[in-house]
Subunit: 265 residues, 2 copies
């Protein structure tokens, strides 16, 4: 039985500042079907208040507890382990990491720093790692669909650079880390097998969610999707659908057929 | 029988602009023993004429054919495959890649671009790879000992970033590529098993040379060497010695004992 839905944001609900056709109505239909929703985004360039405001401007109301970002997960990790961060994140995100100056040891936190990735800043992070700092990655995405419509390098490339040079492996606090998907379901009292993930990244969203134990992974053809993505990663998506509207059709139909078979018992 | 010696430069013969103690005299002793020498450097920040001039200023005379750099190997590869390069190399090195504008297709060439590694330049290289360009790496070193005495990120980190993001594997034209070591022996008529490599990088110099079939790999404790490096990579060095002077003692002693046993037959 499908009992909760996790939605990726960029490439599924919106592209840049524009909602994807049919996406706002689709979220509304999921809400009307009383399906608990969680928005799980690896976008590590925007602070959470801006993501929530951006969604509201498109007509999608999201409560704070419905949005899980890697920055929120990292903040909790740093607090829990008494660490002060050496940040290699987008300048927009730095304000989310205040109040950690007293941590007993150090941790390099790598997000999608964008233009802030340069040799000097990467080298400082590398030297922290060589000196023994912990290593947290907000995401390991290879690329994202940029404002010009082309793919651009995402945080994962820079995490890979630091991992290769330092010989250290990061704790990953965004998708596709299983802990991240399970944290998103945390307060829903919904077994992973009863949850659906909808994403445009066949590897990070879909294969990641299925590997974490989610019962269903739907790959949409919007956002960064490229033909053939559905066969490139393991496990493959449960289904390939056009967009979030079609994913919603798929989910509501699956619910109906499950309810029907339930009635028949 | 030891019949040829390959020497790494940075960290073995010199550190920055300063010859390592005893290194100049050691090269002289190897020359007096009539051992053919090849200087194999992954330093991809200096043009070859500057490397040769730098060595001459220290009292080490090196002929052009005795110096193999990844840039030289890449130039031959690009010519041989009729490729025009998209360069992500140190500005000092760009002049070594002229005259290739007419190539029938494109190749991304990644070296140690140093401060020239920034988000925009890496992203341009990434997009070339996504569009199908060939992928050449001048080196895959993780780090080098910088002017301030600390380790800094080397080309390998950025090659790893592009490899991870694009899903493409590079052709490596510097150490530890077996082809590179064998090219260095190319005109010497010396079987790999009779050659010695001396380096400060346990992985790229020593394990690389041994994997390529060289008979002996000597790891020096100068340059980027860190205690324990001798057990970190496979195959391990034939011997760990203090510096190039001690490596020369080791080589000349091995030659004497081989000659002695030869005499005894």
């Amino acid at each position: 039985m499908i009992r909760a839905v996790l939605l990726d944001l960029a490439g599924v609900v919106y592209d840049g500042d524009t909602p994807i056709a049919g996406a706002v109505a689709a979220v509304e239909r999921l809400r009307k079907a009383r399906l608990p929703l969680r928005f799980v985004s690896n976008t590590t360039r925007s602070p959470r208040h801006r993501i929530i405001a951006q969604l509201a401007a498109m007509g999608v109301e999201v409560r704070d507890e419905e949005l899980l970002t890697p920055a929120r997960a990292a903040l909790e990790w740093l607090r829990g382990h008494d660490l002060q961060p050496h940040l290699l994140v987008h300048p927009n995100l730095e304000a989310e990491f205040t109040g950690l100056e007293g941590g007993k040891s150090r941790a390099v936190v790598v997000g999608d720093a964008g233009e802030a990735f340069d040799y000097a800043s990467l080298n400082r992070a590398f030297r922290e790692l060589v000196a023994g700092a912990d290593f947290l990655a907000l995401a390991t995405n290879r690329s994202f669909k940029d404002a010009d419509g082309e793919l651009s390098l995402d945080a994962g490339a820079f995490v890979a650079a630091l991992e290769f040079a330092s010989g250290r492996s990061p704790v990953v606090l965004g998708k596709p880390s299983p802990d991240f998907f399970l944290a998103a379901l945390g307060d829903l009292n919904c077994p992973a097998a009863d949850a659906v993930m909808v994403g445009d990244d066949a590897e990070s969203d879909v294969a990641g969610a299925l590997s974490a134990g989610l019962g269903t992974g739907l790959l949409v053809r919007t956002g960064k999707y490229r033909p053939g993505d559905e066969t490139r990663f393991d496990p493959p998506p449960t289904a390939l659908v056009d967009d979030l509207a079609a994913a919603t059709d798929w989910i509501l139909k699956a619910r109906r057929s499950e309810t029907d078979s339930g009635d028949a018992l």
